[in-house]
């Protein structure tokens, strides 16, 4: 297999793992917690490196999970002791964790397996170099084992705890009633995120790991609100981002990690534009028809409110729309055109009058929009 193909496949495996746990993180509004954890795994990795006397995948994963959970716990303690708001707590803890890692690396391990550049930008480019050796046999690139392992871990985690994750995300109180404790679920998810972050970290570095976790999920959730589809979609977007990023980085001879993020950003932008329900294009057209209809609605409800009262002749005059509803002439024209087009009003002299169907429409609206307590 060519080095390029190994790099591309590694990127896909890792991005897909990140996307899998990312969906639940984004749904739980914990994107910035992901930012904290991807930074905080560094001291865990460094600690494992020091203790294991060299690079050791398993020790690294354990160390990272420990450091990730420590971060989550510290944030919780700082927030709960009433001293700090959650965002301050996050912003306090993870730079400190990260700084410890950076100082240790740059002081004592500079030039070895890790240096500050690889901490920030990852080493995806070199992922084909390391091969996994077992009893003298070459079992393929280490990065495959790592990426594949993480993908497997995330798939199993989601498959086994899908129901629990879902209910603790959407309705923690209901979960508590059913005997599913949200807190252990929260920590389990964060442990998986921290281990996944190790893979992302080694591939694209601390900062851009967050992109792999958050952006595919956020884009997929723009496109669909059905959870299984969103999970599949985020994996698909992760694959597009990593393959597209890899290919374009090679073409323009630039950073692969950076390019993957840029492509993911473009996919997000595309989703933000074309999403059928939340997209900007759909919103633009929907809002145009909606605001036209709403203008007409306001007019008919206004006419209904004053129908049969002494003030009706004043209230139903065109100038009144400008004077007391404070509409611009343009808006008043829009509203009357729309209401007429729907056959809801007639012009009698200088005044507007509701037609029978217009009256019914206005009554329905007034009734329907009224807030009724259960």
């Amino acid at each position: 297999m060519s080095s390029g193909a190994i790099v591309a496949l590694t990127a896909v495996l890792i991005a897909a793992s990140c996307a899998l746990c990312g969906v639940f993180l984004v749904l739980r509004r914990m994107a910035m917690m992901a930012d904290a954890v991807t930074h905080a795994v560094l001291p865990g990795l460094v600690g494992a490196y020091v203790l294991a006397n060299g690079p050791n995948l398993l020790a690294g994963l354990v160390g990272a999970a420990a450091a990730g959970l420590l971060t989550v716990w510290l944030v919780e303690v700082l927030t709960r002791s009433r001293g700090l708001k959650e965002d301050s707590a996050i912003g306090l803890v993870f730079p400190a964790m990260f700084a410890i890692g950076v100082v240790v690396v740059s002081k004592w391990y500079s030039g070895e397996h890790i240096d500050t550049d690889s901490i920030l930008f990852g080493q995806l480019e070199f992922s084909w170099l390391d091969h996994f050796m077992f009893q003298g046999r070459d079992l393929g690139p280490t990065s495959f084992w790592m990426g594949g392992g993480l993908l497997l871990l995330n798939t199993i985690f989601l498959a086994v705890f899908y129901k629990e994750l879902k209910i603790t995300t959407f309705d923690p109180q209901e979960a508590e009633c059913l005997g599913i404790k949200p807190r252990p679920m929260h920590y389990a998810l964060m442990a998986v995120v921290a281990m996944t972050a190790v893979g992302a970290f080694s591939a694209v570095g601390a900062v851009l790991s967050v992109a792999l976790i958050v952006i595919p999920a956020a884009a997929a959730l723009l496109l669909t609100s059905r959870l299984p589809l969103a999970i599949l979609g985020s994996v698909g977007i992760a694959a597009i981002g990593s393959l597209g990023g890899h290919a374009s980085a090679l073409k323009f001879d630039v950073s692969i990690a950076g390019m993957i993020t840029v492509i993911l950003g473009l996919v997000f932008l595309l989703a933000a534009l074309i999403s059928p329900r939340k997209g900007l294009v759909a919103q633009f057209f929907r809002r145009r028809t909606q605001s036209r209809r709403f203008a007409a609605e306001m007019l008919v409800v206004h006419l209904l409110t004053h129908e049969g009262t002494a003030e009706e002749p004043i209230e139903s005059a065109y100038v009144h729309l400008l004077d007391e509803l404070e509409w611009s002439p343009k808006y008043a024209a829009l509203a009357t055109r729309e209401a007429r087009g729907r056959g809801a009003i007639l012009m009698v002299g200088d005044n507007f009058r509701l037609t029978a169907s217009g009256r019914e429409w206005a009554r329905d609206l007034a009734e329907q929009k009224r807030f009724m307590p259960a």
Partner: protein
């Protein structure tokens, strides 16, 4: 004479979903008016729209016959207590001083006479002893009284209050009622979002019944009837209120 507040054909919508539908309303000067309606009826939105704090889709609001921006000095607003972060690093006196910021003007600082005025207002609500207490260490009722003192510091003609009686102790409730009566005897006007059907007739002269649309508006004895409350709340609640 201009009414204190005139509202004509006011519609407020969030993303084309109306929260208030074509409201017409007059609040005469020198009266205490309660705005009453079920949760989600748009009470809070109504007072915010009057003060230009939320965007309205259509309609006209005049305060003493003029747009709000021109008569801001004559109006004091008491927001809902739950809308601010009481962990903010400040004390009761300092919050009351905020009521004088309009007077003090840009670039300048609060002086001795402003402090004296703020202390007087705290005293008026029975909070003088707590002037230097950090605001998170005050009880809910005390926090509400601090907000009231801040509005009093503005020395306004119209007081617009959003749920001042929500979740307060008896002492505070009495203090607020006393202040309201003082305001009225000085010829000032108060417009108060209120949630308690039982105390409304006792505390206020007039009532606005609201449920997205205006249900009724007028003198308490004529307006606060079972029939109209039922129209605002639905029949079950009205029956309980009886």
């Amino acid at each position: 004479m201009n009414p204190a507040v005139t509202v004509r054909d006011l519609t407020v919508a969030y993303r084309e979903e109306p929260v208030l539908w074509d409201i017409d309303l007059d609040v005469p000067e020198g009266t205490l008016t309660a705005i009453i309606g079920p949760n989600g009826a748009g009470k809070s939105t109504l007072v915010k729209a009057m003060l230009g704090l939320v965007h309205s889709s259509s309609g006209m609001v005049r305060i003493y016959g003029r747009p709000y921006d021109q008569v801001r000095q004559r109006v004091a607003y008491v927001p809902q207590r739950g809308e601010v972060d009481w962990d903010f690093p400040t004390d009761a006196l300092d919050v009351v001083l905020m009521g004088l910021y309009g007077q003090i003007g840009w670039l300048k600082r609060a002086g001795k006479k402003h402090r004296k005025k703020a202390m007087e207002c705290l005293d008026q609500v029975g909070m003088a002893d707590f002037a230097h207490r950090q605001i998170s260490q005050l009880s809910g009722g005390q926090q509400q009284r601090v907000f009231l003192a801040r509005a009093l510091a503005q020395d306004a003609d119209l007081y617009v209050m959003d749920e001042p009686f929500a979740g307060v102790d008896a002492v505070t409730e009495t203090a607020i009622v006393k202040i309201l009566h003082e305001l009225r005897s000085q010829g000032r006007t108060a417009l108060v979002v209120h949630h308690d059907l039982d105390t409304a007739p006792e505390y206020f002269d007039r009532v606005v019944l609201l449920n997205v649309r205006l249900i009724a508006d007028g003198v308490m004895s004529e307006t606060f009837t079972t029939e109209k409350i039922r129209a605002a709340y639905g029949s079950r609640v009205a029956a309980i209120a009886q």
